[in-house]
Symmetry: C2
Subunit: 398 residues, 2 copies
C-alpha cells in the first residue's frame, strides 16, 4: 500500500459526508463528471415511477392540484434556496439555463433603466460557457444595448454609468476558477447596474450567499452538483425587493396573477412566480425534487470543506503519480479562487480521456487540450481521487 | 338498452381504431380531458424506468451519445412531423409552448423584415389561449411592433404591407372552433407577412397539412392529443426553405453549428436545429418518444374521421339526454369548423363539472360558464360518449 492509499483511507474514515454516498447509485467506476451530469440518487427511480404510473396514469388531470404539480416550480425553488444562500420565495424552477439567462438579462436591463434611463451596455464574461454569451448578444440586440465581453478581472475597469447589466459565472466551466462574487457584485452596484450570476458550476458545490451578498438575479442548472438528471430544469433567482419591478421578456400564462382567469390582459403574479413561463415539465421537475432529498441535513459548508480537501488531494496525487511536465493545472491553487473541479492541460487530451474512461475513470475532455475532473463531495471518495490520479499517471506514463 | 346504447355498441364494433385503446392505461372513468392532459400510453412507464435506471444511473454521461440523448429533439421532431403533415427535418422538440411562440414570433418578424423593412405590426388572435397573446405582446415590444388583437374572422381585413407576422390558433381552446388554416395562411402570404400557427389543440386530432398549405412557422404542445405526459416539451416547425434565414431570439448553445467547439462567436446550425436552445429535458422528452409509439400505423385521416363521428354522436346524445334549454353548444356544427372537442355553455358550469367528475365523467370547466369535453380518438369509445352524455343529462336533470 502506498502512502497516498493509506492517506485516502484515513481521509475517507474521517469524512463526515461519507454516509451520503450510500444515497447514490454508484458502481466500480470513478465518476468525476458530476460537474456535467450528476450521478443518480437512489430515491429517484421509485419517485419517477410513482409520478408516471399513479400521478399521471391514474389521477391524470387531477394531479395538477392533488399531486402538487402546479406549485412544483416554486416549491422546488424553495428546496434549492438554502443551498445558494437564499431565503424562501425567491427562486422558481423551470426552463433551461439558456432561457433563464435570457429572462434574467432582459429583466436586468429593464430594472437598470427604471432607475436611470439610457443605460446601453451589457457586460459579459468573455470566458463564459458559450451559451451565456450567445444569449447575452441576443438580449443586447433586443434591448438596444451594446455587448462588452471582457474577462472577469477586467469587469471593474469597464463599468460605468452606461452599464445596464453584468452577466458573470461564479465558477469558470473550463478552468474551475471561482470568481469573487461579493466584490464583483459590489462593483456592479457601485455604478448602479444590475448583476446576473450564473451558478451552474457552483450551486451544490460551495456556499454562494446570494442574499448575503446582495446579488440581484441569478440562474443555474440542476443537473450538475444538484444531481437532478439529464436536462433537469434550471432555476431563476430574483431578489425579493426587485420582484415587483421584474419585467420578464417571457410572460407566459404560468406567471399571470390569475392563470386560470384566462384573461386577455397580462398582469404579472407577485413574487418569484413571475419568473415562470409555460407549463412546467413535470417528469423532469419531480425527478429533481426527489434528487434534492440527498441534501437533507447536509450543510453546504461541509460540502465546501470536503470539496477543497478532494481537489487538494487530487493535485497532490497528480504531483506524485504523473511524470513531471506532462500535465499543467489550469485550476487556481488558492482555495478562494477554486471551484470543485480540476482542469489539467495535457497533450492529446481527447485521446487521453478516452483511455482513462476505458480504465474506469470518467472525467471529460474540453477542446482543445483540457482534461476536466469534477469532484462532487456528496459521492466522491478520497479513494476515488487517489485511484483517478494513479490511473492518469499510468495512462500518461505508458 | 336504449337505442343510443345499441348505436354506441355498433359504432365501437365498426371502429377501425378500437384496438389502439388497448395501448393506453385506462380505468372505469370516461376520460374526456385528453385535450388538457392525454392518458398514459402503456409503453411509457417501462421506457422511463430504463431511461432513469440504465441510461442515467448506469451509463451516466455516456448516454448523451450512446442513448441518443443529444439528437432527441430532432429525432422526436421527425416522429411528430407526419402527424402534422410535415416532411422530416423541419421540427425540433424542446421548451414550453410559450417559449416556442416567442422564438417563432420574433423569428417571423425578422423574416418578414428581411423581405421588406419597416413592417411593424403583429396580428394576433384575440380569442387565443392567453399565453400566446402575452408572449405576442412581449415579442412586439422587443421588436418595435404594434400588436393588433383581432378575431380570426377579422384577420384578412386588417392585413396590410405593415403586417410582419400573424399568430393564429388552429383550433380555439375554448369553443373548439377549427379555423381555416389554408385560406388564412394564403391571406397572410398575400401581403408578404409570415404566418405562425399554434397547433396545441389540433395536432394529433386532425390533419394539419403544414407543408401542403405552405405554413411558415408553427408551434404546439405534446401533452394533449399526443399524450406526451404532464408538461412534456413543445415543438417548433420551421419550413425548410426558411431555415437558413430563421434568426432565433434564443440562440443557445444547442443551436450552434458546432456546439462542442465552445466558440465565443455564435454560428447557427443548419436546418431545424437552429430552433433548439439549451440542454433538452431528457426524462420528459424520452417519455414523449415512448408515447408516440401508439401512432405506428395509425393514419391521421382515420383519427379525424373517428373524431368527427365521436363529436357528432356526443351532440346527438346530448340532444337526446339533456333537457332542452339547459346547455348550448359553442362548438360549430359544420365539420370543417370543428376540432375534436365540444364546449357546452351551462349555468353553474363549475359546479356541474365537479358533479360529473364525481360520477366518473372527466371533462373540464372553463371560466365562466363552459363545460369542455375533449375526444381523443385513440382511446375514447362511443360507449364512453353515450355514457358521458347520459350522466350529464342525469346531473342536470336532478
Amino acid at each position: 500500500m502506498s502512502e497516498l492509499t493509506v492517506r485516502a483511507e484515513k481521509l475517507d474514515a474521517a469524512d463526515e459526508l461519507a454516509a451520503v454516498r450510500g444515497e447514490f447509485v454508484l458502481d466500480e467506476v470513478v465518476y468525476l463528471d458530476g460537474n456535467s451530469l450528476g450521478a443518480l440518487p437512489a430515491a429517484v427511480p421509485g419517485r419517477v415511477d410513482d409520478v408516471v404510473r399513479r400521478q399521471w396514469g391514474s389521477l391524470r388531470i387531477r394531479s395538477w392540484d392533488e399531486s402538487g404539480w402546479w406549485t412544483a416550480p416554486e416549491r422546488i425553488g424553495d428546496r434549492i434556496a438554502p443551498l445558494v444562500g437564499a431565503a424562501a420565495g425567491q427562486i422558481v424552477v423551470g426552463d433551461s439555463t439558456s432561457v433563464n439567462v435570457f429572462k434574467a438579462l432582459v429583466g436586468a436591463v429593464r430594472l437598470a433603466r427604471l432607475a436611470r434611463d439610457g443605460r446601453d451596455e451589457i457586460v459579459v464574461d468573455a470566458t463564459t460557457f458559450p451559451t451565456d454569451g450567445y444569449i447575452a448578444e441576443s438580449a443586447a440586440r433586443l434591448t438596444g444595448c451594446t455587448l462588452r465581453p471582457v474577462t472577469p478581472g477586467q469587469v471593474p475597469g469597464v463599468l460605468s454609468d452606461r452599464t445596464a447589466a453584468v452577466l458573470l459565472n461564479h465558477v469558470d466551466y473550463r478552468t474551475g476558477r471561482l470568481h469573487d462574487l461579493p466584490s464583483l457584485t459590489a462593483a456592479v452596484h457601485a455604478v448602479g447596474a444590475v448583476s446576473v450570476w450564473d451558478l451552474c458550476h457552483s450551486a451544490g458545490a460551495l456556499p454562494v450567499g446570494l442574499d448575503r451578498h446582495g446579488v440581484d438575479l441569478a440562474v443555474g442548472c440542476t443537473y450538475k452538483y444538484l444531481n437532478g438528471g439529464p436536462g433537469s430544469p434550471a432555476y431563476l433567482y430574483v431578489r425579493r425587493d426587485l420582484q415587483d419591478r421584474f419585467d420578464s421578456p417571457l410572460p407566459g400564462w404560468n406567471s399571470h396573477a390569475e392563470p386560470f382567469g384566462m384573461r386577455p390582459d397580462y398582469e404579472p403574479a407577485p413574487g418569484a412566480l413571475r419568473g415562470r413561463v409555460g407549463t412546467p415539465d413535470i417528469l423532469s421537475m419531480l425527478a429533481l425534487e426527489a434528487a434534492l432529498d440527498v441534501w437533507d441535513g447536509v450543510p453546504i459548508e461541509a460540502v465546501r470543506a470536503k470539496s477543497l480537501a478532494l481537489t487538494d488531494f487530487f493535485l497532490e496525487c497528480v504531483e506524485e503519480y504523473v511524470p513531471a511536465g506532462l500535465v499543467e493545472s489550469l485550476t487556481p491553487v488558492a482555495h478562494e479562487e477554486r471551484g470543485s473541479q480540476v482542469a489539467l492541460r495535457c497533450a492529446d487530451a481527447g485521446d487521453v480521456m478516452k483511455r482513462l474512461i476505458e480504465r474506469g475513470v470518467v472525467g471529460d475532455f474540453r477542446h482543445p487540450d483540457v482534461l476536466r475532473f469534477g469532484f462532487t463531495p456528496l459521492y466522491v471518495s478520497f479513494a476515488d481521487v487517489e485511484r483517478a490520479a494513479r490511473v492518469l499517471g499510468q495512462t500518461l506514463g505508458s
